[in-house]
């Protein structure tokens, strides 16, 4: 579990930004945008009027070339290198936004996993697809965005072969297995944590622990489906049992009763189409189908126990 993308701002007051290690990319009215090369680039903005520097980017990508895993030591080394080159005390900088997350191996295909994570209370859901395949979901609120995505696809598509080989050797990454990334994107840390967050505070062990707990809380707030028990016999699954299974799984999430909804719909069909006998016959079939469906307690796609174990392992390595 580690920090990933971050945006840090720092007022320089009378000091000057050292741009010897930066490449100027663009000049705007009152601001300059530079890039700073490492394994991957990070962005450095200089706002002239306020003499403010903003450093934006993924420190794991900058220092390691990937974000599969980065240690606290990697972060400190990366930041010390940046502050040495820019000649600023970056650790006293203000954190504008940041991401904290983990990559988790899962025992089912990524798209199945994503499909069964439906919604989170008070958050808007956005889906990301590549063609017809679901590749990610975001649960968005004004100060926090919870991101779930198929990280295996990113590793295969975005990372070079030597890095993938390193991941296999160092972290046992396996191209045949399934991995997702769960991430809390703190869009407004000052609102979420009720006060400004400085980089030194963010890197403290107490804060890191609270971020781990926060990640698990975010994950638990996502409502999952997939808790219907699949009948063992082919004969018990006909064409109309499948939509009923889906409806039954969604009942508790969206607070409705499948049977009542179906009854209502049957009543809405005019009598010249459906006679009372027709309605009774349809309802009887639907009830028979509903009897074939039973639900289990939790969703098999819920990985909270895996995440819990990961938190414990990272707390007591």
């Amino acid at each position: 579990m580690n920090l990933d993308y971050i945006e840090i701002s720092k007022f320089l007051n009378k000091d000057k930004l050292c741009s010897d290690y930066l490449q100027l990319n663009a000049r705007y009215d009152g601001a300059e945008r530079y890039s700073f090369n490492g394994c991957n680039k990070i962005e450095v903005w200089h706002k002239e009027a306020s003499n403010q520097v903003v450093v934006k980017g993924s420190i794991p990508y900058f220092i390691n070339g990937h974000n599969f895993y980065s240690s606290h030591k990697d972060w400190i080394e990366g930041l010390e290198y940046i502050q040495g080159c820019l000649q600023i005390n970056i650790f006293s900088g203000l954190v504008n936004c940041f991401e904290f997350g983990t990559i988790q191996e899962i025992p089912f295909p990524e798209s199945d996993f994503l499909r069964n994570h439906i919604k989170a209370k008070g958050m808007q859901v956005r889906e990301y697809k590549k063609g017809n395949i679901l590749t990610g979901k975001e649960f968005d609120s004004p100060s926090l965005k919870v991101k779930l995505y198929d990280v295996q696809r990113n590793i295969k598509n975005k990372l070079d072969k030597p890095i993938r080989e390193d991941l296999s050797k160092a972290y046992a990454w396996d191209k045949e297995k399934h991995y997702i990334k769960l991430e809390n994107h703190y869009k407004k840390p000052e609102a979420h944590f009720r006060g400004n967050i400085y980089l030194n505070e963010l890197l403290s062990s107490g804060f890191q622990q609270s971020l781990k707990t926060g990640l698990l809380t975010s994950y638990n707030s996502i409502m999952k489906t997939g808790n219907s028990i699949i009948p063992c016999h082919k004969g018990d699954i006909n064409a109309s049992t499948i939509p009923l299974m889906i409806l039954k799984e969604l009942e508790s999430i969206y607070n409705f009763n499948t049977e009542e909804l179906i009854k209502g719909k049957l009543k809405a069909i005019p009598e010249d189409v459906f006679s009372p006998a027709d309605r009774k016959a349809r309802l009887r079939t639907i009830r028979d189908n509903l009897k074939k469906i039973s639900l289990q307690g939790g969703s098999p796609y819920d990985i909270k126990e895996l995440l819990q174990a990961r938190i414990e392992a990272s707390t007591n390595p």
């Binding site: 010897d20 290690y21 490492g38 394994c39 390691n64 990697d74 990366g78 290198y81």
Partner: protein
């Protein structure tokens, strides 16, 4: 700091002695927008009798020509200078220097030569790694890099 990151800071260049000169080297390969094309190797100032200076192996100096543009051409009147110090734990290298602490820049130069700098040498520049805590990592990286390099 991992090898991949150090690799991203690494800029190798080669210099060869100009015939009939004592210590005037011209760039033969590598990026041309970093150091001056001509570099001189030699201690021209009188060495002080101090413990520190006794470890000094050499000095490199260079001036960017008017038509040249390089990484350090805006500093020190277009001149570059670095003392070259020996690194006991890495004897295969001629030595190392830093450009340019006077301007709060800490770029590490490691000199490697198969002929003790009599005919040619390689300068391996590591941007931002000229601080004591980075030296062992840069030297180790370069040792691996040169061992893997086809001879």
């Amino acid at each position: 700091m991992n090898a991949r990151f150090i690799e991203s800071c690494h800029i190798p260049m080669g210099y060869e002695l100009k015939p009939e000169t004592k210590g005037s080297f011209y760039q033969s390969w590598g990026r041309r927008d970093i150091l001056p094309e001509r570099i001189s190797l030699g201690i021209f100032a009188q060495k002080r009798v101090s413990q520190k200076d006794s470890k000094k192996k050499n000095e490199i100096n260079g001036i960017y020509k008017k038509t040249e543009d390089g990484l350090y051409s805006s500093l020190n009147n277009r001149k570059i200078h670095s003392s070259i110090w020996g690194a006991e734990e890495y004897p295969e290298f001629y030595g190392y220097g830093i450009i340019d602490e006077r301007y709060s820049i800490y770029d590490l130069l490691i000199l490697y030569s198969g002929n003790n700098c009599s005919n040619s040498f390689e300068i391996h520049l590591f941007r931002g790694l000229g601080k004591p805590e980075y030296l062992p990592q840069a030297f180790s990286f370069l040792r691996d890099y040169l061992n893997k390099k086809p001879q």
